[in-house]
Symmetry: C2
Subunit: 456 residues, 2 copies
């Protein structure tokens, strides 16, 4: 299946839906919904108008398929869709879903609505859900499946296989977790180890004892890192007493990795961190982006005042103004390169704690190499392109480009490293922060250099 | 395990290694290497000096553990490490590794060296490897495991379990793929379905017949999309005649998703697409970033000429020059926001083919809202901050900000959409391309507006 094919299939599905919706073909719509994968339904729903969404959702059955669809759907759309729905229908849709899907769906609703749905569920489920929803957002606790298959260390491999065969619910057994008398996690057994040992071997003799685990409060990004590092299919979540609370499975980790990358992209571009920004209204979208632009507006005002202060220089050599965009532009671009390389390098574990100075010096060398090169290129251009240029203009412009690029590479490297030291997500403020500081520094150095080498 | 704990463990490991290396503590080094996870070894190697890397590698055994470590290691480091190594040792390290790890490792070497290692392997392995290495880089074929466990549709579930128990090699059985007489993939059976049906049921009666599959030439990004969309643990790779060639497993997909995100980050920042850029020398690093800066250099030259053409306006109102950075800066920032939102939206399937116009108009609305707001803010500032300003300066500056931001949001949205239409990766040229076009357009509109409203 090539990319075009995947997109093509989704497009066909969307168009088929639209046609049936226009014709109000109830029976066909229900049939199509039943045989479409919940994840595909969630994708086409993004492309529907609100009216189409409501129509299509009204025809969905109150079953697990619909619950899975809601769990896959973007939060903003879940909220819109369930806004008008009765708590009874919502409860009836989610009652058979796994606890983490339930908590996902309820998490998208207002607290009040979530509460009224919660009250309609069974007592036991209510408690489990309340616990799950109590964990911080984006933590291992919030994303774990509590539906784990555990076995006591004392039973034999033969009995384990029998128990496994009787399990109806554990839809996907990844690993068999082994517990002791106190219900603490003491080991893990692979399905294969189970099948190839003689049936009277005790689990404690074949289990692997060193199990990598996380805590419920562990950030999802760190859970993803562990799973990715060791190629796990699942990682157990334990409390301080080593009781097994649940597992985080690799399919959820895949989603986390994509989501975290999207958040980093948006943050570095100064566009907030809401990965569903495309689903917002124009006003909501503008509001999310407004504060970051304010930072660059303040920087702009500083640059205006700075240039205003050097007005006398511009008056005598008007051509100086023409080179402002290229000097700050080249600086901005190399600074963005540096900060992106550094932020991503930290996210993928390529910059170790303690190795920061080496990284800074290297980026400075790169800044100097590229600055010298483009400085020469621009210097020659400035000298030969303008007949009425003062003799030193080439020197000033070339040197300024070089300094601006060196400073920009340094700033672009140092800012994210400092943010990490301060325990602030380096992606948050890097983008607009870096380009704005570079605008100001670039202009400042430019006029200082011009003042030094030109008789003004 | 919190993030700090993960980083902390890696730091301890690195420091322990360094201490042992300094003391030339051979026995302890060998012990430490054996009990450390290959992925952790690969991580600490990034932080070693070349000398430390060579020392540590010299002590590693020629076994699967070492092969796994090399498969996890960054390509640039594999190349450095194996440069001086005899083909015999390399062959002896990789001979027992899975074919896709072998091809990974050999892929990092020069063609000549890879060939001389290849010749030392068994005939059968040589052929398999040659085939794998023949697939395009970053394709399903290049990343698949050929070590797949298949069963004939005619056998019973009882026999299937017996065969499974005799399997020594298939380290991780995800799904049981079922084939027909012609060795074509006809279905898939879950381990659970196998264990809960009576032992004389034939596989063809319990298998799921509609199997999602990919082709060997499918791009790894699309493979990742399929696995992520349907929460698969593995996806089969088939040829046009439906013969099963191998499977791509979720752990490799996790790596692909991270790698693709890194590449997109670097490309959007105009820093090439080599995700190992941090491992390059300063010169190599500068060379990778140079071409993208050239684009913004050319744009800068155009801006210089443009401003030069409006020199007469600057001569009469020198203050106009002071506002150039803020006008192109605000434009550049909103343009970067837009292009990032669009590029990421396309990567995560949030912008459907056919819905482009809607997206463009929405971004234009956002550009207009934010442009009007910041235009007003800057217009007032321009009017009141400078006593000797011409009466219309506030109007000119405010209107220019507004136009610049509207144009920037539009350009930032349209460029990636056009690139997708042309089947070019939108991340490639978006970053520097967008900011450079905005620099030029911003300056142009600024002077046109100034010419209209100021008597110059």
């Amino acid at each position: 299946m090539r990319k075009e094919m995947f997109d093509h299939e989704i497009t066909i599905l969307r168009d088929t839906y639209r046609r049936l919706l226009r014709r109000h073909a109830r029976t066909n719509l229900i049939k199509l919904t039943t045989k479409t994968h919940p994840a595909d339904l969630a994708t086409v729903f993004r492309y529907f108008t609100e009216d189409e969404q409501n129509q299509a959702f009204a025809l969905m059955k109150d079953d697990e398929h619909t619950a899975e669809f809601l769990a896959e759907l973007d939060d903003a759309l879940v909220q819109d869709l369930l806004q008008e729905e009765s708590p009874e229908r919502i409860a009836s849709i989610i009652e058979k879903a796994p606890a983490n899907d339930q908590s996902d769906i309820l998490g998208a609703l207002s607290e009040e609505r979530a509460q009224s749905v919660l009250e309609l569920l069974e007592q036991e489920e209510q408690e489990e859900l309340a616990e799950l929803m109590g964990y911080p957002e984006d933590s291992a606790g919030a994303m774990m499946t509590t539906d784990v298959f555990t076995l006591h260390e004392g039973i034999t491999s033969g009995d384990a296989i029998k128990t496994l065969q009787d399990q109806e619910d554990a839809e996907m057994v990844f690993y068999l977790y082994v517990t002791d008398d106190d219900n603490c996690l003491v080991g893990v057994v692979s399905l294969r180890a189970l099948t190839i040992t003689s049936s009277d071997t005790k689990l404690k003799d074949i289990m692997i004892k060193r199990v990598h685990s996380v805590r419920p409060e562990t950030d999802q990004e760190d859970v993803a890192r562990v799973v990715a590092q060791y190629n796990f299919l699942a990682v157990p979540v334990i409390d301080p007493d080593e009781h097994l609370l649940g597992i985080v499975t690799v399919d959820d980790v895949v989603d986390v990795i994509r989501e975290e990358a999207t958040e980093d992209f948006l943050q570095m571009a100064g566009a907030g961190k809401d990965r569903e920004i495309l689903l917002k209204s124009s006003w909501g979208n503008a509001r999310a982006r407004l504060p970051w632009l304010f930072a660059s507006w303040v920087g702009g005002i500083i640059a205006v005042s700075l240039i205003g202060a050097f007005e006398h220089m511009l008056e005598s050599i008007i051509l100086l103004a023409a080179f402002i965009p290229v000097i700050i532009g080249m600086g901005g671009n190399i600074g963005t390169q540096s900060s992106t390389i550094i932020v991503r390098g930290m996210a993928t574990g390529r910059i170790d704690v303690g190795g920061e100075l080496k990284v800074i010096f290297k980026e400075m060398r790169v800044g100097l190499i590229l600055g010298a090169l483009y400085g020469l290129l621009l210097g020659f251009f400035a000298n030969f392109a303008f007949k009425n240029a003062p003799p030193n203009l080439g020197l000033v412009v070339g040197l300024s480009i070089c300094v601006s690029m060196l400073v920009a590479a340094t700033v672009g490297t140092v800012i994210p490293l400092i943010l990490r030291k301060l325990d602030i997500d380096p992606a948050v403020a890097t983008g607009p922060f870096v380009t704005t500081s570079i605008d100001i520094l670039g202009v400042l150095f430019y006029f200082i250099i011009a003042g030094t080498f030109l008789a003004v």
